[in-house]
């Protein structure tokens, strides 16, 4: 937590989006990450 008074700012904070939209965008990022890690481990074999 960063500020002295906790009342107003509860992190994480969503702006202009709902959690479902975020979760969709986040799973797109997750898929890209898995691909990168699989490529890099194939290179090592």
């Amino acid at each position: 937590k960063t500020g002295p008074s906790e009342i107003s700012m509860q992190l994480p904070l969503f702006f202009n989006t709902k959690e479902e939209d975020y979760s969709k965008a986040r799973s797109k990022r997750h898929a890209l990450r898995l691909r990168i890690l699989q490529n890099s481990s194939e290179k090592e074999e």
């Binding site: 960063t2 500020g3 008074s5 107003s8 992190l11 702006f15 202009n16 975020y22 990450r33």
Partner: protein
């Protein structure tokens, strides 16, 4: 500062993002005349497979106004998750505020992009109890997941 610093920072973030979503052409009103802005370069096609997005640097309220108006479609579609928010007082007699946020940004149909943003709010000389944005810097952060290959430095 009567309102606590955190309340000022929180109120600012709400105004900043609400205006982007509701009326991008009004965003530049938040900036000082000679403000400096480093923001997403909306003129460049987004690389949906990439981890970061390019940024562009603008100086002055007029250029900032043109920037937000010209890119109003993308600006109003911006969605943000703020994960951390640090702030300190700064400037002449500590009356300005330095804000450092980290989080993730995305638009309809894109993956999330990790970013960090530093903003300075300075008291508006003509309207007391209100602030202008004098500095606003966005930087995207790559995951850098692949193992670090020691560049063989050709001597």
């Amino acid at each position: 500062m009567n309102a606590s610093l955190q309340d000022i920072v929180f109120a600012f973030l709400q105004t900043y993002y609400q205006r982007m979503s509701k009326d991008p052409s009004k965003v530049s009103a938040l900036y000082s005349l000679t403000a400096e802005l480093t923001h997403i370069n909306y003129q460049v096609e987004f690389d949906l497979g990439g981890e970061t997005l390019p940024t562009i640097k603008l100086t002055g309220k007029e250029n900032i106004s043109k920037f937000f108006t010209r890119n109003n479609k993308k600006v109003s579609d911006l969605k943000v998750l703020i994960e951390s928010c640090d702030f300190q007082t700064t400037g002449a007699n500590h009356s300005s505020v330095l804000i450092l946020t980290t989080g993730e940004m995305f638009w309809t149909g894109t993956p999330t992009y990790k970013f960090v943003q530093s903003i300075i709010l300075t008291p508006n000389p003509s309207k007391n109890d209100s602030f202008d944005i004098t500095n606003d810097v966005v930087r995207f952060i790559a995951d850098n997941l692949s193992p670090y290959a020691l560049e063989t430095i050709e001597t």
